[in-house]
């Protein structure tokens, strides 16, 4: 009975505060806290619809069982704050409507922090058409052993600008754990990606810094790709001070997706893009490609793309500077039946010999004897190989790194305009 009376009074207090036009601050000045419960889906969605500039929507500890995508659309200056990456979990294992977990669109100055999104049929946290987004201490995970049934991307900003992903975590994505697509001014730092097909992927994106991350136990660690045929080309990506180790997981991406082409055992792969600097990384036990510079043209040459796709010099990778990285490896590979076509081609080409850590496919612009503006210097513990795929592969594999003993102008640090977070 006491509880009943209380229950009647509390909503009245809430109604009064609602008239002040800001429902996220309760009477005592403390922000409201949304807790798990049977109505969480509706309560969170309504809070997102009603959010006003400056609001902090807070989530308590526990698992929120959600059945439809939760969307934040057309908002400025809103913070979504859980009680900790391990403490606040948005579980989408029972999702029936929409395939993304949390979708943020057409917004600016948004912070998402201290929560985990789990088991979405599609992407975990998708951010689209947004300028100024901070993703801080956020997890995007799939339960159990990673599987091709898992969603494609964990943390997924796309068509956005001024993006900060910091101290976040991705596990189990059937494409990329952290995937930044067709965006501009991006920092991905101090995060952990494990158990994904690609750990971190920067695709068709300009001005990105990827540093201080640990990327382990994926099929491939860090990908910097451009898919040609899109309206945006990538450029100016720096990958530095990362630990990229033990990426040898059997590729479990659904066929048709470009990451299905990544061999199990790939550390850092740069493909068909321009102006990339890879430096001061620890690259260990990525036994097929330690650091590769490839072109879509190789995929075409090796028959991995449709026959109607013509090779084009514009698909070559230009201006890549690989320096100051440290390498170590063994010669342990996944079995041939667990490896993809390109991975098998590479391992078979070297037989019993170790595959050199730094690998070029040989699609270089200009004279092949020149550097092609691919410079490799001051790396520790690595061999070098140019596969010369365009020249009767595998007959002209070259271990001579001297054409690439050069340096390039360092790329500038990326500046992002984002809200202050802590």
């Amino acid at each position: 009975m006491i509880f009943s009376l209380f229950g009647l009074l509390v909503p009245f207090i809430f109604l009064l505060s609602g008239c002040n036009g800001n429902n996220s601050v309760s009477q005592n000045g403390e922000p409201d806290l949304i807790l798990p419960g049977p109505d969480a889906q509706q309560i969170i969605q309504q809070a997102f619809i009603d959010a006003e500039e400056g609001d902090v929507i807070r989530f308590g500890e526990g698992t929120f069982e959600l059945t439809a995508t939760i969307t934040l659309n057309n908002k400025t200056g809103v913070t979504l704050k859980g009680s900790g990456r391990d403490e606040t979990v948005f579980s989408f294992s029972g999702q029936t409507d929409g395939s993304d977990g949390l979708l943020i669109s057409n917004s600016s100055g948004i912070i998402v922090q201290d929560l985990t999104i789990s088991d979405t049929p599609g992407d975990g946290l998708k951010v689209r058409d947004t300028d100024g987004i901070v993703i801080y201490r956020v997890g995007a995970v799939w339960s159990g052993e990673p599987s091709s049934e898992n969603g494609a991307y964990g943390i997924y900003p796309v068509l956005s600008s001024n993006v900060m992903i910091d101290e976040s975590y991705a596990y189990g994505a059937s494409d990329a754990g952290i995937y930044v697509g067709q965006s501009d001014r991006v920092i991905v730092r101090n995060s952990l990606a494990e158990g994904n097909v690609a750990g971190i992927e920067i695709e068709n994106t300009t001005n990105a810094d990827v540093y201080g991350n640990t990327v382990t136990d994926n099929t491939g660690g860090i990908m910097v790709f451009d898919l040609p045929w899109l309206s945006v080309s990538g450029s100016h990506v720096r990958v530095f001070n990362n630990v990229v180790q033990h990426n040898g997981r059997v590729n479990f991406a659904p066929a048709g997706n470009i990451v299905a082409q990544v061999p199990a055992g790939t550390g850092i792969l740069v493909m068909s893009t321009n102006n990339v600097e890879v430096f001061d990384n620890e690259i260990e036990e990525n036994n097929v490609i330690g650091t590769g510079v490839f072109s879509i043209n190789s995929m075409i040459e090796l028959g991995e793309l449709p026959s109607n796709v013509q090779m084009d010099e514009s698909y070559n990778t230009n201006n890549v500077y690989i320096h100051g990285n440290s390498y170590s490896r063994s010669n342990i590979y996944v079995s041939p039946e667990d490896q993809n076509t390109i991975g098998n081609l590479l391992t078979q080409s070297f037989g019993e010999n170790p595959i050199p850590d730094i690998m070029l496919d040989g699609f270089l612009s200009g004279d092949a004897n020149e550097s092609g503006d691919i410079c490799v210097q001051n790396n520790i513990g690595s061999g070098f190989v140019n596969l010369n795929i365009p020249f009767s592969f595998p007959d002209n594999i070259s271990f001579d790194s001297s054409p690439h003993d050069c340096s390039l102008e360092p790329l500038p640090e990326v500046q992002v305009e984002i809200p202050v977070y802590n």
Partner: protein, 380 residues
């Protein structure tokens, strides 16, 4: 004077801090529904009661319909309309109305786009007939969506009909409803119909990140309608009624084919009309799925952007393990077809608004891809 609750003020219980006390939810919700924070100035337009800002809590407050609301008999200031090819929404039927305030009519500046004036309103009612082969057996109204143009910006909201079919209530957060009906073959069908959240609207109704109407394009409106006064071309009716600018040249306007009526267009044109209406709201160069580079507008001419021998960009498991959006001659090797046939949330297209397969459209698209006169894509 009626009360109105703006969208900002209409709230359900938002503070789960009080979760332990929610066992009085029923009473609290009732109080909340009755409650609104302030009176706002009403704006009466041609007998309608449309608040200048925000939305009413109840559909009946607008005065759209005369007589019993569930009959959807529009008052004189509304015009009903249909489309040549409409969006598939889990086999719902739709009854649409348009309101354009007196004075400034809509315009068709470039042959297809309809530019609505300030104050315009689109009303779309979703329902299931109990028996598709006999409308006289009644229907279940599910939701009524409104699109409203004020201060140059469109906004959207939806009203969910009660079980008694006497009123519909503003509901912004999305919900589900189990529905069953007899289809035209006499087969009992079931669907867990999804009423979208207000934010879901912008997933499809979006161009350059702004909310826009989708259906009322001139080519799609260019058809006859059986008005109570007799059959008439819809655009001519709009023009004579003052809904459309008097100087609009209608003779030169083309008609979008009716996707399932072969007398209205070739197989290719009907398939493209279907894809235009059902896909291109996101899949166009300014839409929310433009990152995919799959563009399915009716006017798209480049086979690559329509998907022919195009590898996916970010399809994930939606690729179905297939390599190309469209493999000419081979629907079963085409991702576009695969995603139309799938009902898994992470695979199906459209992503929202469809939970069951549109079987008749699948037949059309299968036929279209099978008969596509283009070389196979190749590749290993």
């Amino acid at each position: 004077m009626n009360r109105s609750a703006s969208s900002n003020q209409y709230k359900e219980i938002g503070a789960n801090l009080f979760a332990p006390f929610l066992f009085c939810t029923g009473l609290c919700l009732l109080l909340l529904t009755l409650y609104s924070c302030q009176y706002s100035e009403e704006n009466y337009n041609d007998g309608l009661n449309i608040p200048p800002q925000g939305y009413h809590s109840n559909l009946s407050e607008y005065g759209f319909f005369s007589g019993k609301m569930r009959n959807l008999d529009p008052v004189d200031s509304l015009l009903p309309y249909d489309l040549n090819t409409e969006l598939f929404s889990d086999y719902t039927k739709k009854q649409r109305f348009v309101y354009i305030p007196e004075g400034e009519p809509a315009k068709i500046p470039d042959g297809n786009r309809v530019v609505f004036p300030e104050g315009s309103l689109l009303i779309k009612n979703f329902y299931y007939p109990h028996d598709e082969s006999d409308p006289a057996l009644g229907r279940t109204l599910i939701e009524t969506r409104l699109l409203k143009l004020r201060q140059g910006n469109w906004t959207a909201n939806t009203y969910v009909w009660n079980e008694e079919q006497t009123e519909a209530f503003l509901r912004q957060t999305g919900s589900n409803q189990e529905i069953s009906w007899l289809d035209y073959k006499g087969v009992e069908r079931m669907v867990n119909y999804r009423i979208p959240s207000v934010n879901d609207c912008s997933t499809c109704h979006s161009k350059q990140s702004k909310l826009v109407p989708l259906g009322p394009e001139a080519e799609n409106l260019n058809r006859e309608y059986a008005y109570s006064s007799g059959k008439e071309n819809q655009l001519e009716k709009w023009r004579s009624r003052g809904f459309l600018s008097a100087d609009t040249e209608l003779a030169s306007l083309s008609e979008m084919p009716v996707w399932d009526d072969p007398s209205t267009g070739t197989l290719n044109n009907r398939a493209r009309a279907y894809l235009h209406v059902n896909c291109s709201s996101c899949h166009n160069p300014a839409g929310s799925a433009r990152n995919s580079a799959l563009f399915l507008e009716y006017t798209q001419e480049d086979p690559y952007y329509i998907g022919v021998c195009k590898t996916p960009v970010a399809a994930g498991s939606g690729s179905g393990g297939l390599r190309y959006s469209i493999e000419p001659g081979s629907p079963d090797e085409s991702i576009l077809f695969y995603r139309m046939e799938s009902v898994k949330p992470q695979e199906r297209m459209p992503e929202i608004g469809r939970t069951v397969v549109h079987e008749e459209a699948v037949v059309l698209i299968r036929d279209w891809i099978e008969k596509m006169d283009l070389p196979a894509c190749g590749g290993s």
